[in-house]
Amino acid sequence: MATPIIMPRQGNTVESCIVSKWHVKKGDQVKSGDLLFTYETDKATFDAESTEDGTVLEIFFDVGDDVPVLTNMCIIGQPGEDISAFLPQDEQKEEKKEPEPVQAVSEGPLVQKETQMQTSGFFGISPRAKNLADKSGADLSKVVPTGPQGRAIERDVRSLISQGALISKAAMAQADGSSEYIGTGLGGRIILPDLVQGEKVVSEPVQTLEVPKEQKIDYTEEPLTNIRKIIGKSMHKSLAEMAQLTLNASFNATAIMDYRKKIKGAMEKLGLSNITLNDIVMYAVTRIIKKHKAINAHYTGTSMKYFSDVHLGMAVDTERGLMVPTIFNADQMSLNRIAVESKKLADACKTGTINPDLLQGGTFTVTNLGGLGVESFTPVINPPQTAILGVCSITERPYMTDQGLALYPAMGLSLTFDHRAVDGAPAAKFLKDLCEALENFELLMAL
């Protein structure tokens, strides 16, 4: 006997779901438990399985359709069976006849409507939630309001923070609520440059195999057009407001590599941590940067804030995205201590247990793509910091000796600085001092 498969209801407030993918087509043989289709709500993606053995007799909706919940999606049965009773229209009529428990329940869809409205950039937010968002930098364009009448309330912002959906104020002012960006700022914050450089994260359908050609979809077309416009605008604004440029240099890493080897040998004896090259670079930064106050500073637009201590931001790649925890007072730490701290912070970021207070307050940032073989790049500054140091991979480079050409390990450093705050020469001087310090690392340690 023919059996209809309905669009399930995922929660009281869900009125309809979007079909993201069909895993079967009309005429296919299916068994109970086989994947039939994937669908999504505003909050999550779900799979619908067949509850029957049989043939897919009819499919009523296409990918991208917004289907009211409890509506028949397809029919499973034996070829030749009459399926006219299961046409979705009839089903809908029947559903309307179902008595509502009490009047207030019918308010449920209201919540849903408002939730959809937020995607076009308009929704209510409680003062408390707004304050929390301001303080934490939560990206309200991503908020899923769960308050009365679609209002975003405190718990919704807390949920953003725990997901790491953060955005800088400047970026928020220009961001398009319907787009998603990759945050490269502190704690994975979306910052202004991300609006330009960031690329839209497309929600991937759960399954990528065997997409039937005829059902290939173009649901990204509309937003992309919109984004192009926004990106154009943002890029123009960003270029007008920021003056970032990157200096690249390299240094002979022999000294630090030797030093690291020594430490490795003595690790257990001295109870040292596993000190990485990045830790060594960070250590060097904390000692050298104090002589270059414009690099260890914040640019506020009307003034410069020069810091007497070094609070070092370190970029950490996590599943949630980029996070930048801060090693506070790093200039007062030993190399070993920096290594210990950076490991602790990176672990906390990766496990998602990082205290949000540790995701702010940096005065300068070090980011490292060296491990991925990047030889030079243009890291993006975390405003209001004035510069960021990119640590690159080590490559063998030739140099002339008395005996002819020889090779040395060269490590690349990419320093992006904000030309509004710092001029090229002082920035280059910092980079040069840093390279010299790293080439003579044991001397630095003696300081």
């Binding site: 009490v102 207030a104 408390r128 308050g147 309330i153």
Partner: protein, 823 residues
Amino acid sequence: MTKILNIDPKQTRARGMIKFTDIPVNQYSKTIEQEKENYTNEEFVRVFRDMAVIREFETMMNAIKTTGQYNGVEYNHPGPAHLSIGQEAAAVGQAFYLDTKDFIFGSHRSHGEILAKGLSAIQKLSDQELMNVMETYRNGTILRVVEKHCKNTQSAKDLAVSFLIYGTMAEIFARETGFTRGLGGSMHAFFTPFGIYPNNAIVGGSADIATGAALFKKVNLKDGIVIANIGDASLGCGPVWEALSFSAMDQFKKLWEGEYQGGLPILFNIMNNQYGMGGQTNGETMGYEMLARIGAGVNPEQMHAERVDGFNPLAVADAVKRKKELLLAKKGPVLLDVVTYRFSGHSPSDASSYRTKEETEAWQTQDSLVEYRANLVNADVAKDSAFDEILENTKDLITEICKLAIDKDISPYMDLNADPKAIEKLMFSNQRIEKMEDRECETLMPKEENPRVQQIAKKVRFGVQDGQKVSKNKVYQVRDGIFEAINDKFYTDPTLVAYGEENRDWGGAFAVYRGLTEALPYNRLFNSPISEGAIVGSAVGYGLCGGRVIVELMYSDFLGRAGDEVFNQLSKWQAMSAGELKMPVVLRISVGSKYGAQHSQDWTSLTAHIPGLKVVFPVTPYDAKGLMNSALAGTDPVVFFESQRVYDYGEFFHEGGVPEGYYEIPIGEPDVKIQGNDITILTVGATLYRAQEAVEILREKYGLSAELIDARSIVPFNYEKVIESVKKTGRILLAGDACERGSHLKDMVQTISELAFDYLDAPPVVIGARNWITPAHEYEDAFFPQPSWFIDAIHEKILPLRDHVPVNNFTDVEMIRRNREGV
């Protein structure tokens, strides 16, 4: 309600006739010659002088009001001026035999009575006493002005006359140098050191207040009589009749004992000037024909009523002298119908459209200042020229003082810019006085022998024992807490009296006073007539004389019956007296339930709206006792709401239960009953217990921890704890049993919204009773807030709860509809 007096059906049903005795009408007929044995020539002339002072004073007021100048002195007085030109003889005649221990209370038309009583007091006090009064009154502020700027200050009496006139005039002109800093004004001027007690702008308002003053004199064995000077038209006012009934209660003569036995020393002196504003009492708006007649309807003594010729000062003096003797012999109350006539209008805006010119002129030809003067001249008391001299001197005096009283440097206004709190700090006296007088407390047994006290001693003072609710028979209840505080005070403050309906014998309708009847004589605890106006009004009089009193309105719904007394009198006199008077009055009001539309309303909001009242509503035994102790130790009027839902509740919140000893809970401090983090619930009154159930549901079903705060007090109210809580939780729901529209909770919401706006995660929400009549008990769940209302309101307006299906409609659409339809 007393077993001592048997109601015999035979006697009650027996045939007979009520006999009345004749009521004298204008029987005074003495000539000046005949009165010479009672008055010296000097006294005859002084009576004229006093009348002349009043006449000139009122003439000045009239000129200022109607022409903007008096005798060349220009001034604009925007305030009221209800003048008594024509009524001078009635005022001066009354005051002649009174001394400072005799109190007068007046009306809106009492300038003349103030001056007459003041001049009489000046005559009777020694120079030393006078100087002492003037020096000590407000630290000599008023005296300094008079000493410095008045010409005629050689003798203490002359100085005092200027002092009296200046203090009154500056008061009328709203100057800080007025008797009560200008906060009373024309209709409320008074000066207690001369026995001049508050005049009252509410018609007949003084009747029950003066009754309370007489009660104070009687209960505290004070000398003197009390006079309520009210107008003929006030006989149309309910509270005046209530005052008559109250003052004529049989129990004073039949049940009160010893030196307390006998009538109240009160004289209802009706200044019968024939009109109530424009309504003519005799012939138009009343039916008594002769006002004195009504005395016959009040008690067998017919209130010793008489009609007296108020145009003859000596006739009035004669009557007051005789009545005062009666009153001091405990034969009160007394009613005097003093016929008089005001030549001036009700107020300067009165066009006298209700009377003819001929009528006014006819009375003017008999003007007491003309007739009495002629009589004195004819009887060779003084030469005619002597009276001209008096009139001239009086005019000079009034002119001189008028110039002083309008001078902004000599008689400044309060500077509310320099001292913005000048009036604010007079709203409450905020003192703590354990006993109003220091003498032994009269009781019938030692406290510890009281059976109720012994019974309470056996009770369990916390509501839960070994995890079980203690049975109602064993638990220390809310009513025990109130009783303990009051009983304690009866053994501390000798002036404390308690009365109201069913207070004695019955033990209060809700058994709070059980045990007091045995412990207290009638003069400290008695049943009043069902006269809510007089119950509260007399308490006002008792309090402002310096006595502590607890009165009771059995149901909140009866508050309307005492509307003026609560809203205009109890609340106002401390501030209008600029701190000269205190009001140690506790007004117990019980909030009912189960008894329908006129016995189940929570009217706390009405009292909270009126400035000058402290309002509390404790609902736990611990709070009830502590707040009652505070109320009874203070000097401010406290409206003490109680709930009939919880009189038998034990203490479930305060750890350790209700202390046996004395403790106070400061008025104005809310109390966190249950701590929580996710939402704040603030309740007023017995709604606390339904909120407590809601807190349980939130915890068990939705994993939310709610913080439950009991307001306990409504005015004053310290918001700090609430704001602190809201900052923590971000959400607040307020609940009470008052009808939601206009509920004081809405006022609290406004304040909280302003103080904690940036911390709020949702708008503060109020749930109150529906804007309906209170239906029968069977439907009350649909009317009063229930635990499910809390959950639904939170779900709908504050924090949607997972999988919650509401059963009550708290949607915006419904809110708009209810308001649109006014339900």
